[in-house]
């Protein structure tokens, strides 16, 4: 079982030795039992770091944000950043490294194994607690999670299978592969759902049913772009399907300005939203590391994870490609092998 003191000590020593300018981690949230992301820059702050099943966020997002800030800063601070990373988070760092977004030496990955469990799904937990609010959620050390609620401090033990996020139930690499240090036991296989379980289940519906489902979801989409904002892979300067961030530089010609293309409009109607989500899914093929953040932040609960895991399933079944597993590997989209199953490529 992970001892949180070890994480704190390691973070403190990184800061003390000035090996990093900051450590990205989790601290106790102020509003609920859920942890919140934090940036630690002082040795003393390291004591506030926590590690429990509520450390939901993919902190790689903040690495991206930092790089973007430094790129436009007058006096950029390019010292390395430390990051507390679960298995999925470390894969995100892997994809970013594959894509040259930053260099390996720019990041210190403090890997934390999810061991036998993972992070909880707040919706599943709410259902379980039947309206009560959790005050404390901790790892039990086994395949279940201890939960206490306000007003009743006795811990209830809930089987992990019942409240873990879907992605954790399907996770094949709960221990970070890419790391500078790793805390917790290395876990190979876990006894939850098979990989791509949810995507396979969704696939089993008829074409008409699936179309009806997605039409319904796209119809509800508010186009708030929270899914894009939270995704560490959506780091483009200009989003192809949303040209409000059109980049104008000295080199931008008048014709380019006049002729900027709008592949998809911002209006939140079913067809435009479908184009937005499907384009985003395609752009994440072979890049999505299944941190589930898009689905978690969606205010109208669109099961966005299904779109992305469906493509990752294809990538795995057809090309044995797993995003973020090997930073030396060429990206799925930009590479081909001679033994490719499709003959047209030869």
């Amino acid at each position: 079982m992970v001892n949180v003191e070890e994480i704190r000590d390691y973070a403190a020593s990184l800061l003390e030795k000035e090996e990093v300018k900051a450590v990205l981690g989790f601290r106790r949230g102020s509003a609920s039992a859920f942890a919140e992301p934090c940036t630690i820059t002082e040795v003393g702050e390291a004591a506030s770091l926590v590690w429990d099943p509520t450390c939901l966020n993919n902190l790689a997002l903040y690495l991206v944000k930092d790089r973007k800030q430094q790129a436009v800063a007058k006096t950029p601070d390019n010292r390395p950043v430390g990051i507390v990373a679960k298995g999925c988070d470390s894969r995100a760092v892997g994809v970013l490294l594959q894509e040259n977004f930053f260099k390996r030496e720019d990041v210190v990955v403090i890997g934390v194994s999810c061991e036998g469990t993972g992070v909880v799904d707040s919706n599943k937990l709410s259902d379980k607690l039947k309206g009560k609010t959790a005050s404390r959620i901790t790892f039990s050390g086994a395949d279940d999670i201890n939960v206490s609620v306000y007003g009743d401090e006795t811990e209830t033990v809930i089987p992990a299978q019942e409240i873990l996020a879907d992605r954790c139930l399907e996770c094949r690499a709960a221990t970070p592969t890419l790391h500078d240090v790793v805390f917790g036991d290395t876990v190979e296989a876990r006894d939850f759902n098979e990989p791509f379980h949810a995507a396979k289940e969704a696939e089993s519906a008829s074409e008409d049913e699936r179309w009806a489902t997605w039409e319904h979801h796209f119809d509800r989409c508010l186009r708030c772009f929270a899914c894009r904002a939270v995704c560490p892979m959506c780091y483009c300067h200009e989003c192809v399907v949303d040209s409000t961030t059109f980049v104008v530089t000295l080199g931008t010609s008048a014709e380019e300005k006049a002729n900027r293309i709008r592949w998809c409009e911002r209006s939140a109607n079913t067809s435009e939203s479908a184009v937005y989500h499907l384009t985003r899914a395609i752009h994440l093929a072979g890049r999505c590391i299944d941190c589930g953040e898009c689905e978690r932040v969606c205010p109208v609960n669109i099961p966005l994870r299904l779109l992305n895991t469906k493509l990752e399933k294809e990538a795995f079944e057809m090309f044995e490609y797993q995003a973020g597993h090997d930073i030396e590997q060429a990206s799925l989209l930009s590479s081909f092998r001679d033994e490719d199953p499709n003959s047209f490529i030869r």
């Binding site: 592949w263 930009s334 030869r346």
Partner: protein, 648 residues
């Protein structure tokens, strides 16, 4: 700038006009924004057609035009040249393909007209955003590489040096000459193969402009037409050809015997050997795989007896990089394996031979010194059966194609057999006789009439051994009866297939292959010696089954293409290359990985295109999730416009 676009719709005789209402296409497009001229004509590519185009450009002050006709592979160049003659930049001219992509694939005129209209309209919208571009001039390396030194490669190399070019001739085997060196006499004149080939081989070895590299293979290639860089790997040269004086002291002491591939397995040879007495380079060679480990402790006998010290076991393979302007690929053929012909006893009975083995039996340089005898008991076969189309023209079980030369060489084999064994009887089973070629039909007739060869029209079902004879069970469909022949020898006219390694060289050189595995020509009629990759040409049986005269013609044709290419001071490279939109590039390197031409590199964290290497294929644009890279004149905007035009 105001758009002044011209549209020219071609009838292509009836090719397009039969299915597409070309007049309607032209009239409808005349109403489109920016279209100031729109006409149709029966043959746009003809002289009056082109003149009309040139005049229209001048009269209407066009700044863009679309020719709605056949595939751009056929006439893009024609009309871009016409465009230049009308003082309109060549890259302001685009082709809309309404023949292959429309007229030829539809029957319904209304539907086809609608589609032709959309295809043309898409091109109009595209050309209205085209930039005027100038071709990129690139220098030329005046040096050619010929891969494969059979008769095709030898002929091409000699022709190239006649034009003053330097040539590197690469051959995988230890001697040049290829399959032709194994033949006895050649049809239809029956002149001896060696007598006509050997002088050419000697010319190669004495030609100072040819750098001959035997036991070598192309390992990798980079660069582009006019400026290839080719890595050639040469096997370790254990016997120094300069020192070897052909004394043949080494073979008697060599303890290893392996089948001799130059005798198609009819004889054995030593690990140290000379392929043929007339081999070029004239030197013994050491078969690395057969030699006892190249370890002097284990054997080392040949080194001991070599007076001149030509043998050195410590030699290592070498890799050299050569600058090359153009390449001729002439990697030849192999016979379709006998092991596939189980029903004919192929690979099972020693007296069932393939065509090349029979050539070795007839050849004065073969194991029997030209006496035809059975490999099993060295008796002269008195009855011999030749089976044509063995493995050819059988799409269900073997090769679908006709191997083209078997009718002729089987007639030749039967004739040669009768010359060697006057009292013998030759039978030939055939499907039909294809003797198209100068003097070919007469040759076949002679074999029937003068040499009494019995031609049986029909197939053989089975060959099996009984009482020391090969029982051939066949059918004579003309007489309508079954035939049984007790033969002493059976010769299978095996199909030709691309030589082993053709797939690999095609992959290395990035040239395509056809469905049968032969190297693909760029156009079956108009570009028969060009590969799909610029600067790489094809010659000989690697491109398709062919006989010696055709092979030599094609080799000379390929050579003349190379000469034409390398006679220019500079080559014009298409300017429709990729261009990076810097602000959007995040330096993820996906395009760098995806580029098949190694034309993109990261410079200061952004992708940067080497315009000379770029072929404008658009792979980069396809993988860039940020749309940060575009191909000139096929920009995102243009694609968007084209899609809008088609979907409208």
């Amino acid at each position: 700038m105001t758009k002044r676009t011209g549209v020219f719709v071609c009838h292509c005789g009836k090719n397009i006009a039969a299915t597409v209402d070309v007049k309607k296409v032209a009239q409808d497009l005349a109403k489109d924004d920016g279209v100031v001229f729109s006409e149709d004509y029966v043959y746009m590519c003809s002289d009056p057609g082109q003149t009309a185009v040139i005049d229209a450009i001048k009269d209407n002050d066009l700044n863009g035009m679309v020719i709605s006709c056949c595939s751009p592979t056929l006439h893009e160049k024609t009309f871009r040249d016409a465009s230049e003659l009308g003082d309109l930049n060549a890259f302001q001219c685009e082709i809309a393909n309404i023949r292959e992509q429309c007229a030829w694939v539809h029957n319904d005129m209304d539907v086809a007209t609608e589609k032709a209209l959309k295809i043309t309209r898409a091109s109009v919208r595209r050309v209205q955003h085209n930039q005027a571009l100038e071709p990129i001039g690139v220098p030329v390396t005046r040096r050619a590489l010929v891969v494969g030194a059979g008769i095709a490669g030898i002929q091409a190399a000699l022709d190239l040096t006649d034009a003053g070019l330097d040539v590197i001739l690469v051959e995988k085997q230890a001697t040049i000459g290829g399959n032709m060196l194994k033949l006895s006499e050649t049809f239809p004149t029956l002149d001896c193969s060696q007598c006509i080939l050997s002088p050419k081989m000697v010319s190669v070895s004495k030609n100072s402009k040819i750098k001959l590299m035997t036991e070598s293979e192309v390992e990798s290639i980079s660069g582009f037409v006019g400026n290839f860089k080719v890595k050639i790997k040469k096997k370790a040269e254990f016997v120094d050809p300069e020192l070897c004086k052909l004394c043949d002291d080494c073979t008697p002491v060599c303890p290893v015997a392996v089948p001799n591939q130059y005798d198609v397995g009819l004889t054995n040879r030593r690990a140290i050997h000379i392929p043929f007495a007339q081999a070029i380079p004239a030197s013994f060679t050491l078969d690395e795989e057969a030699c006892l480990g190249l370890d002097p402790v284990v054997c080392g006998k040949c080194e001991e007896v070599c007076d001149v010290g030509a043998i050195d076991y410590d030699k290592k393979p070498t890799v050299t990089e050569e600058d090359i302007g153009a390449i001729v690929v002439s990697t030849g053929f192999d016979l379709y394996g006998m092991e596939h012909m189980g029903e004919f006893g192929g690979g099972r009975y020693p007296d069932v031979l393939d065509g090349l083995q029979f050539e070795r039996l007839c050849s004065a340089s073969g194991a029997t010194e030209g006496h035809i005898m059975r490999p099993s008991d060295h008796k002269v076969p008195k009855e011999i059966v030749f089976i044509q189309c063995s493995g050819s023209r059988d799409p269900e079980n073997h090769c679908a194609y006709c191997s083209k030369i078997c009718c002729m060489y089987t007639a030749k084999h039967a004739t040669l057999y009768k010359h060697h064994v006057p009292d013998g009887q030759a039978y030939i089973f055939y499907i039909d006789i294809r003797s198209g070629g100068k003097g070919y039909e007469e040759f076949v007739q002679r074999s029937m009439e003068n040499d009494g060869v019995i031609y049986l029209r029909g197939r053989v079902s089975k060959v099996y051994e009984k009482d020391g004879k090969l029982k051939v069970m066949g059918v004579d469909t003309l007489a309508g009866r079954n035939v049984e022949i007790n033969a002493d020898m059976v010769v299978l006219a095996q199909a030709m297939e691309p030589s082993k390694g053709t797939a690999e060289i095609a992959k290395i050189l990035k040239i395509g292959r056809d469905k049968d595995g032969f190297l693909a020509e760029a156009h079956p009629k108009l570009k028969p010696v060009e590969s799909v990759t610029a600067g790489i040409f094809l010659a000989g049986a690697a491109q398709g089954p062919k006989d010696i005269p055709e092979t030599v013609s094609q080799a000379s044709a390929a050579a003349s293409k190379v000469i034409a290419l390398l006679s220019k001071e500079q080559l014009a490279h298409s300017p429709t290359v990729a261009k990076v939109r810097d602000p959007y590039c995040t330096g993820c390197e996906m395009c760098v990985d995806a580029c098949p031409y190694d034309a993109i590199a990261l410079v200061d964290g952004k992708a940067s295109v080497n315009e000379v290497l770029c072929e404008g294929c658009g792979s980069c644009a396809g993988v860039c999730v940020r749309a940060a890279i575009d191909v000139k004149n096929v920009t995102q905007l243009q694609v968007h416009e084209m899609i809008s035009a088609i979907m409208a």
